[in-house]
């Protein structure tokens, strides 16, 4: 089968790889019909995540058709059209029982801090991902969900990560009616977080980024204010001024370790790898939020340390909430929002690229060429 093949930082290609096999009675093999490149795949692509082995197939956002099932699978059958949450979750461990499907304790041998994730390095379990023609899906009775009749496949594939992650970013913000919410990052997750902030009753939503085409998009898509930090000089001061010198009620970091905007963070976090990515967005979020406010983090960082003003977290009495999205927990609500027209995920898709052209797709997305917001790969 054809599959993406990571060869090192900034180098990927498509190669023939062996077909995935059932390795556990609750496994399924899924023929991929759509997969995405996620902003967090770029952390792997840039070589920022430790234990990313050459030969790995990335891809944790995908949908497809069930081709084969293991002996204990009861809820799926061959031929089912499924969307597969990016978290690999057993559904029975103590963490899954709490709805923390992103923190499953039965899916990742290599690290205890994160559950298994498809195609996200050996630090997330060493599973090949869905940027391929076929993929092995463990715990087939838990994660995969049959795509509702009539749902657009582009909507469905975005329900595997982007939509629930953006939604959970807003949810973790504990947004109360009338709150001012600032979202750092106008990538797909930031766009979705801004859109979802309204669902919780926000009174004002502000997005900060540096790419004009994305700011223009989010302004229209999420009906929010959007500002370019390059023209603001100091985004923290701007947020203070625009909130009567109080700060925002909720700040969301939807960027993670690939942030731009601070030379020192970029050099130490992205060039020298002295910290687990550039924590510029998180730094701004902590400093922009009101005293006693909430910082919600869904941006992805590596497993080592980051330079953030933790003293300000203490002195301002902040609450920090963060996690990988618990996709399975949120899916019923997300499906309803899509079906009832409150969320229109497919509108963020800008590029549909054949799997064979994956190197170009990664380069376009990584370098923000051709006004790219969200690329979808078609095997």
């Amino acid at each position: 089968m054809l599959a993406m093949n990571y060869r090192g930082p900034l180098r990927v290609r498509v190669d023939h790889k062996p077909m995935p096999e059932i390795q556990h009675p609750n496994d399924a093999v899924v023929r991929v019909t759509r997969s995405c490149i996620c902003g967090s795949d770029l952390h792997l692509y840039h070589g920022l995540v430790p234990d990313t082995r050459v030969g790995m197939t990335f891809g944790h956002e995908f949908i497809g058709v069930v081709e084969e099932i293991g002996s204990s699978v009861e809820k799926l059958k061959v031929g089912d059209n499924v969307l597969v949450p990016f978290n690999i979750a057993c559904g029975t461990c103590w963490f899954c029982k709490q709805g923390l499907y992103g923190n499953c304790h039965e899916s990742n041998p290599e690290a205890t801090a994160v559950g298994g994730i498809f195609g996200y390095s050996h630090t997330a379990g060493g599973y090949d991902g869905g940027q391929a023609e076929y993929v092995r899906v463990p715990y087939a009775d838990v994660g995969p969900t049959v795509i509702p009749e009539g749902m657009d496949p582009d909507d469905a594939v975005l329900l595997t990560d982007v939509v629930p992650t953006g939604y959970q970013a807003a949810e973790m913000g504990g947004i109360q009616e009338g709150d001012t919410v600032v979202v750092f990052g106008a990538g797909p997750v930031g766009i979705m977080a801004a859109k979802c902030a309204w669902l919780f009753g926000a009174g004002r939503v502000i997005v900060i980024d540096h790419l004009e085409y994305r700011l223009e998009f989010v302004r229209n898509y999420a009906q929010c204010e959007a500002y370019n930090f390059k023209s603001l000089e100091d985004p923290v001061l701007f947020i203070k001024k625009t909130t009567d010198w109080m700060g925002a009620d909720v700040c969301i970091d939807a960027v993670g370790g690939d942030a731009a905007g601070n030379t020192m963070q970029t050099i130490t976090g992205k060039k020298l790898l002295l910290q687990a990515g550039a924590a510029t967005a998180l730094h701004w979020a902590i400093n922009s939020v009101k005293k006693g406010g909430i910082v919600s983090i869904v941006g992805v960082y590596g497993p080592t340390d980051n330079l953030v003003p933790i003293g300000n977290v203490v002195n301002k009495g902040l609450t920090i909430r963060a996690n990988q999205a618990s996709v399975k927990r949120l899916l019923p609500r997300m499906i309803k929002h899509v079906q009832e027209g409150r969320l229109n995920p497919k509108e963020i898709v800008t590029h549909r690229v054949p799997l064979k052209e994956i190197a170009e797709a990664y380069h376009i997305f990584s370098s923000k060429l051709d006004n790219c917001i969200k690329p979808i790969l078609i095997p």
Binding site: R13, R53, Q98, G126, Y127, Y362, I364, L369
Partner: protein, 172 residues
């Protein structure tokens, strides 16, 4: 490990408890079984047929795991060393980053051994750069070529200078 057998005997234990004041997400389902470790009915164990490194912060293998790319070669040796340390230690993560870089060289060697010469330009997606960012791409190439030519010229000049000095010395 010494723990108090029945903490409920501690004077004042739980008088200010408020289940609504739980910042974890979502709200914990309290079963009073939380402290008993692996108390859930574990899923069937996947057979371990390849070498899989596991964090020393857990006593066992999870029920399922990925089997792609077992550690091998020099990078594999470095990874095995890294997994002797906990996830809290730099001795775990820094060697893994080193192993990733070593692995890139191993990948190149493997390609060449198979008689495959990797097309680095294609792998870096430069076709897209040429299509969508031609001006900047051309500028980058021109600067790259200019810097290379300048470096070669400087090296040649230095080599010629030292050669002339040597000739002079020998003649003298």
């Amino acid at each position: 490990m010494d723990t108090i057998a029945d903490h409920k005997n501690i004077k004042g234990w739980g008088v200010d408890a408020n289940s609504q004041n739980d910042p974890t997400f979502p709200i914990k389902e309290r079963t009073n079984e939380e402290q008993k470790g692996y108390n859930w009915k574990r899923p069937e164990q996947q057979a371990v047929n390849v070498e899989v490194l596991h964090s020393i912060e857990r006593p066992n293998m999870p029920a399922v795991f990925g089997t792609t790319l077992p550690p091998s070669g020099l990078s594999g040796r470095i990874r095995r060393f890294a997994f002797k340390y906990s996830e809290s230690s730099y001795a775990h993560w820094l060697p893994l980053i080193l192993a990733d870089r070593v692995n890139v060289v191993e990948g190149l060697i493997d390609d060449l051994k198979r008689g495959y010469i990797p097309n680095i330009f294609a792998e870096r997606g430069w076709k897209a750069e040429w299509k969508y960012n031609r001006k900047a791409f051309t500028k980058k190439i021109i600067i790259g070529v200019a810097v290379t030519l300048l470096a070669v010229a400087l090296l040649n000049r230095r080599r010629n200078k030292s050669k002339s000095a040597k000739d002079l010395f020998l003649k003298g």
